[in-house]
Symmetry: C2
Subunit: 305 residues, 2 copies
């Protein structure tokens, strides 16, 4: 059987089942970052990879943007735990003919992101990749109280920080017009701004949290799966980016904002977030459109295979 | 300029110069693993990547061996710091047509290594790679006193734990005969045994240490460069694997044993190591053959580009 039949998430579930973790306080495969209790504190560690022609296309992506983005997606994982990003390692897979100036540009993008978010590069690896460029980043952070995907309770509200669908709409524009029509959406796709400070603030009361890398639908599924609950989403309340569709928001991915749940009483004075639904005790996910029509959430998200 | 002109180590030096680290106790790019002072302890973190047709050839390498080896090379980095390996993350880059049973085999190899060395898998990433399989592992460890590459002093002896050249000789045999003539050398190449416990023991007195991933010559160069010293190596004293040449030992790489320096007085009762040379105050590296003839060390090592 080919992996394309199992799918990315099926493959992760398969691997996860072989490596269960039973140490108290240790969080393994299945959250935005792993949590390691170390010397009385909680250490966070995460990794993300971008591959040429899978995650970016050099036709409309600058190497500096690739550098920024690989940093941003890792920072976003730390943000989703309510953590503080600290250190990173970078691995580059490059072919012989790769230009030194392009390596420099990748590291400039990384450096800009690291200065913006206060992170230090402390190691990595450089290997030959015969065909496609790939870049892997590992990020280490710490947190006071990790916010997991598994803490949502029936009655909790579901909320988003930031708008939805911008990245997907930006990607469509880039595919259609190249870099000729830059705007907020193309910028959101090429240079996402992870919500590190927002995550830290939310960690005080959020019952669960996830970063929106694979679309809102996938976020809700993961929270419901890990928390063993259901959800009802109000599609009319989604804060869509200008030019983005509901499908961009649900299935587009790469918005790198934060989706979280919280008790209603804790949400009173919270600014800059949009409530989009509620956690239920049923084990299904229902979307309600603005006319009150109920439907099942179409679950595409972004799967690699 | 193409990266092939700068070379792997030139590229690393170039990157390193842009990301200097000045925090007390923090060790960044340039050692086997990074050292992060965290909550009063020293945390270690390292990453290594293997790419199909660069680091292994599926013609004579089983997927289970690739899994074992990516674990082993990361463990070896932790060993070279005198550390304890604890946790790991794994990233796989796979094409659509990759077989699920081969994914299972990779994780079986990882699992065998992790059981042998007491490590927990706690996360990772799976991405599509259009052409070549790649596998990246990040490993987290801890240590009482990190042994760096930079502590060697003139007068220190240079010693190796374990034999040299086995992996290079094994690779030659695999290329020539495939898997038809298995032996200790092919086994050393396919299933290296990192020296985690030995590294921990040596950390009590070693002044510098490095894991032998790129050949003895590169090990000595790195220790001399970081410690700002020179070295004299006695080629006649190298503990060569049966069937291996001096060139295999110096330039072959992938032996994954430990090369270290120590004060003479600390070496009296040390068992299972072979003294192969001495640190000097001159800034060059001289090899002396068994007839007493001096020569410059041919410095090839393994460069990716």
């Amino acid at each position: 059987m080919n992996i394309s039949r199992l799918g990315e998430f099926g493959l992760i579930d398969r691997i996860k089942s072989g490596f269960t973790v039973k140490t108290k306080g240790l969080v393994g495969i299945g959250d935005d970052a792993a949590v390691i209790p170390f010397a009385g504190k909680d250490l966070l560690i995460t990794t993300d990879t971008m591959v040429e022609n899978v995650h970016f296309d050099r036709k409309y992506t600058k190497m500096r943007e690739v550098g920024w983005k690989i940093a941003a997606v890792n920072i976003s994982d730390i943000a989703a735990m309510g953590g503080y990003a600290k250190y990173a390692l970078v691995t580059l897979g490059l072919k012989d003919s790769f230009k030194v100036k392009d390596v420099d540009e990748i590291y400039k993008g990384i450096s800009q992101a690291f200065k913006t978010y206060g992170i230090k590069l402390i190691g990595g690896d450089i290997v030959r990749s015969p065909k496609d460029l790939f870049i892997t980043m590992d990020m280490v952070g710490e947190c006071k109280r990790p916010v997991l995907r598994s803490g949502a309770k029936p009655g909790d509200v579901i909320a988003t920080v930031g708008i939805l669908g911008a990245s997907a709409a930006g990607l469509k524009a880039l595919k259609k017009y190249g870099r000729k029509k830059p705007g907020n959406n193309t910028r959101a796709h090429l240079l996402p701004m992870p919500m590190l400070e927002q995550g830290q603030k939310l960690s005080g009361f959020a019952t669960s949290m996830i970063d929106n890398s694979d679309g809102l639908a996938r976020c809700i599924i993961e929270i419901c799966k890990e928390s063993r609950v259901g959800a009802i989403i109000s599609l009319g309340s989604l804060p869509l980016a200008k030019g983005a569709t509901i499908d961009d928001a649900l299935n587009g991915g790469e918005d790198y904002n934060l989706i979280f749940t919280a008790r209603k009483k804790d949400m009173k004075d919270v600014k800059g977030v949009t409530v989009i639904g509620e956690i239920t005790s049923q084990k299904n996910i229902i979307a309600v459109d603005k006319n009150g029509k109920k439907m099942k959430v179409r679950i595409k998200g972004f799967e690699h295979f």
